[in-house]
C-alpha cells in the first residue's frame, strides 16, 4: 500500500511548518528574476538604441537588391545570380574596377583581412563580392584573377544598362574619367555594403573606414551573429 500523503494524514500532532524554501532555491529564484529583468532591459535598450556600428547603419528591414551577371565559378564564366541572403550567406559587396590603381585593391585587401579575423564558423558565412563598374574592360576572367589575388570572393560583370540599375539600387555612382595620355579611369563611390543572411542591408563602410580592420571585423561579427 502506498504511504498516505501527509495532507491526508489526520488527525495527529500538528505537522511541522513546511520547511522553509532551501536558501539555494530562493537565491536561484532571485537570480532568475534579476536575469529576466536584465534581459528585458537589454531587449528594450536594443530596440531603442541599436548596435553601435562603426559603419553607417541602415534602417531595420532595408532589403538589398538582387542582381544578375557573369562570374567565374568552378573555373568557368557562368551566370551569377545574387539573391541577397541566399544559402544563409552574408555578403560584403562593393563596386570597383580592375584598372583602379589604389582604392579597389586595398578595399579587397582590408575586407579579406577583416574576414580572416573572424571565428572560423562565422568566416565561412561571409562572401565578398566585387561588381565591376567598368564592364567594357573587365571580363569575368580578369575580375576573378583580381579578386582571388587579394583573397577569395566573386568578381561579377554586369553589362550595361543592367549595371546602371543595380548601381542605382545601392546608391552607387560611377563615371568615366579621361587621364591625359593614358587609359581612362572610372570615378566611383567607394562604399562597401554589408548584407545579412536574411537579405537585409545592415551597414555600409566608406572606403576611408576600411583600414580600421578590427572595427570592421566587429561590425561583421555582430551582423553574422544576429542575422
Amino acid at each position: 500500500m502506498p504511504p498516505a500523503s501527509p495532507a491526508t494524514e489526520a488527525p495527529g500532532p500538528p505537522a511541522p511548518a513546511p520547511p522553509a524554501r532551501p536558501w539555494y532555491v530562493s537565491a536561484g529564484l532571485a537570480l532568475a528574476a534579476v536575469a529576466l529583468l536584465l534581459g528585458l532591459a537589454w531587449g528594450m535598450a536594443r530596440l531603442r538604441s541599436p548596435y553601435p556600428f562603426y559603419g553607417t547603419a541602415y534602417p531595420a528591414g532595408t532589403l538589398a537588391a538582387p542582381f544578375r551577371g557573369v562570374a567565374v565559378q568552378g573555373g568557368q564564366a557562368r551566370p551569377f545570380a545574387f539573391t541577397p541572403g541566399q544559402g544563409g550567406q552574408a555578403t560584403a559587396l562593393f563596386f570597383g574596377f580592375t584598372h583602379c590603381a589604389s582604392i579597389c585593391p586595398l578595399s579587397l585587401s582590408y575586407l579579406n583581412k577583416a574576414r580572416a579575423g573572424l571565428p572560423p564558423e562565422l568566416r565561412s558565412r561571409l562572401q565578398i563580392v566585387l561588381v565591376s563598374v567598368d564592364p567594357a574592360r573587365d571580363t569575368p576572367a580578369r575580375l576573378n584573377e583580381y579578386v582571388r589575388y587579394f583573397g577569395t570572393g566573386a568578381g561579377v560583370r554586369i553589362p550595361e544598362p543592367a549595371l546602371g540599375r543595380v548601381a542605382r539600387a545601392y546608391g552607387v555612382a560611377y563615371e568615366k574619367a579621361e587621364l591625359q595620355g593614358a587609359a581612362y579611369q572610372i570615378n566611383h563611390t567607394t562604399a562597401t555594403y554589408l548584407i545579412d543572411a536574411r537579405g537585409r542591408l545592415r551597414v555600409l563602410w566608406d572606403y576611408t573606414q576600411l583600414p580600421q580592420v578590427a572595427r570592421v571585423q566587429a561590425d561583421l561579427q555582430h551582423v553574422l551573429e544576429t542575422p
Binding site: S102, A116, G117, R142, A173, Q185, A214
Partner: protein, 156 residues
C-alpha cells in the same frame, strides 16, 4: 581567437633593409650649398595580379630643407607611364584620381603618398611585379633635382 593583421616580420625586415640601402637623393646640380636630401619612408608598390597593368606607389616623403620641394615629374623603367596623382571626392561622392602637375613636400615637413590622397600611379607595367622585388623610381623637382627611391612590391 580573432587574429589581427600584423605586419609580417620578414616583410618589415625587408623593408628596413631596403630603406637602409636607399641611395636617397642626388642634389640638383646647382651652385651654392648642397641641399638636404629628400628622404623616403615606407615606400611601397602595391602588388597586383599579373594581368593587371596599373598600380600605385605609396610612402612618406620628408623634406628636411628650409624650402618647399615641388615635385613635378616621376619616372620608372617598370611602367610605360608614371604619374603624379591626386585623389578627389566630388560633391556627389564620386572618388577618383587625376593627374597633377606637381606635388609639394613642405619645408621641414612631409608628404604622405597614400591610397586616399596624393600618390604615384604606374600605368602599363612592362612586366608583372613580384612581391618582394624592388622598383626604382626617380622623382624630379622643379629646380631640376632628381630623387631616386627604391620601393619594394608589397601585397596590401
Amino acid at each position: 581567437m580573432p587574429q589581427f593583421p600584423t605586419p609580417h616580420p620578414a616583410r618589415l625586415a625587408l623593408l628596413a633593409a631596403v630603406l637602409a640601402l636607399l641611395p636617397g637623393c642626388r642634389p640638383a646640380p646647382q651652385a651654392g650649398a648642397a641641399r638636404p636630401a629628400l628622404t623616403v619612408q615606407a615606400a611601397r608598390v602595391v602588388a597586383v595580379p599579373p594581368g593587371v597593368k596599373d598600380t600605385s606607389v605609396f610612402g612618406t616623403l620628408r623634406n628636411p630643407g628650409a624650402r618647399p620641394l615641388r615635385l613635378t615629374g616621376v619616372q620608372t623603367g617598370a611602367a610605360d607611364h608614371a604619374m603624379l596623382m591626386v585623389t578627389r571626392t566630388d560633391a556627389r561622392g564620386l572618388t577618383g584620381m587625376a593627374v597633377t602637375g606637381a606635388l609639394t613636400v613642405p619645408a621641414g615637413g612631409e608628404l604622405v603618398l597614400s591610397d586616399t590622397g596624393d600618390h604615384i600611379m604606374l600605368m602599363g607595367l612592362r612586366a608583372p611585379l613580384r612581391e618582394g622585388e624592388t622598383v626604382a623610381l626617380t622623382l624630379t623637382d622643379d629646380a631640376g633635382g632628381t630623387h631616386t627611391l627604391q620601393a619594394p612590391v608589397v601585397k596590401p
